[in-house]
Structure formats: C-alpha cells, structure tokens
C-alpha cells in the first residue's frame, strides 16, 4: 500500500478501527502531539551516548504507540486493542522516576535553563512536547473522548521523567544551570 491515498485531501482522516473525523479533531491533535514527541525522542536517542538512556528512550517510544492507539480508538474499538496503558506500564515509569530522583539533589530539580548538553536540551524539548500531548489528552478527557484515564497519568509521569532525565544528563556532562 502506498503512503499517498489522497483520502485526507479534504481535511478528514480515519480513526483506528473505523470512523472518519476532521484532522483538527481533539483526538487527532493529541495523536499528532504524540507523534511529534516520538520524533523528538528519536532525536534525543540518536544524540544520547549512554546505552541505558538509549534503551529507556526506545522503550518510551514503543510505549507511545500504545498511548497513541488509546487516543485515536473509538469506545467500541478499545476492546480490540491488544496492548493497553495499564498500571504495570505506569509502574515501570515510576520506578525510573524514583531511581533518577534519588541520585539528584533537591537543588538540581528546580527551575532550570535548558541547554547544558545537546542531549539534555533535546530531552527538555521532549518534556515540553510531552506536556503539550498531556494538555491535548486533558482536553479529550474533559470532552468525554478518553476511555482510559491512565493515559493522562502516564503522560504526566512521562513528562516528569523526561525532566529528570534531562537534569541527570546535564549533571553527567557539566552540571546543571540554575534558572533566575
């Protein structure tokens, strides 16, 4: 199947398991933010030197496909999803959060100026995009379009994790740069 179908030329697109909606629909906006996040995570992963960080970022990228499917699927289609954002997936993110947090001092987790290293700066970009994805999903939730509230929790934790990963990466390279 070719990439170009021309089906979306009129500004409409297909949801997972059927149903066409406008391309500026809240669900498609959320999906687009997740796609952008995945692309920036790829850039961060390509820039990262540490094998552990690369592996973690790849795992998050894989998770985001599952998050994306939760966002664009219909209520009826959700039952057909093979993988879901569940408590186990959330717990894994929280474990990484705790491990990194325990290695950082309180003063290294405050307001910061991004740019301590190329990888940390990219992780900060990822964190900003993750927060935008979270806001888009929050809009869906408010409009009764989200069927799995754990998606919101996952994106909230993920944003925190990306913040801490950036600080951890900065510390490894040159120390963090405090904000005003």
């Amino acid at each position: 199947m070719g990439i170009t179908t021309k089906r979306g030329d009129g500004g409409w697109t297909d949801r997972l398991f059927g149903g066409r909606v406008r391309k500026d629909d809240p669900r498609i906006e959320a999906c687009g933010a997740l796609d952008e996040l995945n692309a920036f995570l790829g850039l961060a992963r390509a820039s990262a030197r540490g094998r552990t960080l690369k592996r973690l970022l790849l795992q998050i990228q894989r998770d985001l496909f599952i998050v994306g499917s939760e966002v664009v699927v219909s209520r009826r289609g959700a039952a057909k999803l093979e993988y879901r954002v569940d408590h186990e997936r959330l717990r894994r993110i929280e474990e990484h959060l705790s491990a990194i947090e325990s290695r950082l001092r309180q003063t290294e987790c405050c307001f910061i100026i991004p740019g301590g290293s190329p990888t940390s700066a990219l992780l900060d970009v990822c964190r900003c995009v993750a927060r935008r994805a979270e806001r888009r999903v929050a809009t869906m939730h408010r409009r009764r379009m989200l069927f799995n509230p754990l998606v919101l929790a996952y994106l909230n934790r993920l944003s925190d994790l990306l913040f801490l990963l950036a600080r951890s990466e900065e510390k490894r390279h040159m120390g963090f740069v405090a904000g005003p």
């Binding site: 949801r15 059927g18 149903g19 066409r20 909606v21 406008r22 629909d25 809240p26 219909s74 209520r75 009826r76 409009r143 009764r144 379009m145 069927f147």
Partner: protein, 62 residues
Amino acid sequence: MKVIVDADTCTGCGTCEDICPEVFEVKDDVAVVKANPVPAQHEQACRDAREACPVDAISIEE
C-alpha cells in the same frame, strides 16, 4: 430533552457514541438515538456530543 440525528448528514464516525453510549449507537454507519427523551443524567453528555459532532448532525430540543 429530545435528541435528533440527521441521518443524511451523519457520517457514522462514532463520536457521539463515544461520548454518550447510553443515548447514541452507530448502526449501519449511521448514529441512531436509543433513548428519547434523554434521561436527565445524560443530558450534558448529549450536549457535549452535539458540540463534538464533526458534521453538526445532532440537534437538541430542550
């Protein structure tokens, strides 16, 4: 409250069913109303569904 779906306009995208499955159901690619008048506890969800319908196929008589 009464809800009407314009079957000629509806594209069967399922948005209304997603938002308020107690009142809307997609059958043969068209949304149908299965609870009219709308039970009071689902009235706000119906307004949200009308708001979200991408082709404005839902109308409400309050």
